[in-house]
Symmetry: C2
Subunit: 144 residues, 2 copies
């Protein structure tokens, strides 16, 4: 019988989310792990990423993302910039305050990352990530 991958994966994600939430929450201002996830992407592709790009990357529902972005704008971490190529769309930029949050919370996230990786080799981590990507790809392929 084929090994069941789901259960350990559910467990891992559960633990990871909890640790992340704790790590983030300490400092805390109205930011959830999901906000952080989006904020990091915006920070990385500063002013060169649209809401739809983020939907493609993350598979977050576009409705949900619209609200997340609205909240991040409300908090002053993110702003919209006109997209001259498409008036329906806009680029997302991060503010100085937003950058600060990302920096601050990235160190918290990295602590969690390190804890998670303890006892594993770099090669194992790399393989793990590769397999995770492959499996996600398999599932997504199959879903259209």
């Amino acid at each position: 019988m084929s090994e069941n991958i789901k259960e350990p994966l559910f467990n891992l994600l559960h633990s990871m989310k909890r640790s992340l939430r704790q790590a983030i929450e300490v400092d805390n201002l109205g930011i959830t792990p999901l906000h952080m996830r989006v904020l990091k992407i915006i920070s990385f592709y500063n002013q060169k990423v649209t809401a739809n790009d983020i939907v493609q990357k993350t598979l977050i529902d576009k409705a949900q993302l619209a609200r997340l972005i609205k909240e991040l704008i409300g908090l002053g971490y993110v702003s919209k910039l006109d997209n001259p190529n498409d008036k329906r769309s806009y680029y997302l930029g991060i503010s100085g305050e937003g950058e600060q949050i990302v920096k601050q919370l990235s160190t918290a996230e990295n602590r969690v990352n390190e804890i998670m990786k303890s006892g594993l080799t770099e090669q194992e981590i790399a393989d793990f990530v590769r397999l995770a990507k492959q499996m996600a790809h398999n599932l997504n392929q199959h879903n259209e």
Copy 2:
């Protein structure tokens, strides 16, 4: 810089949950993936598992689990049996109908499982699962 494990893992779980939901939902009667997860455990340890055992295994919050079980009982898939050793507690048993659901939905889950694993070797799967368990363990250790 250390590789970020979170993003591919979030993606994978997201895709997996969506596929699972689709697979389960086709047949469908008031069952969510989480119900299924619990139901499978009860089926496996039939009449030898308590609510608290499941909490230990899955890290599902005990409040949430109490409600899940209540729902499964309401659907007639699960029943409580007195625990002679501890009157606060009870063993969980699965009904014939419950078994049927588990069988039926297991085949759907296995389809998802196979899609996810396509292109990977058994060895890779085994390693992946081992690493996932190790990482969850690392995080949980650290959290008390």
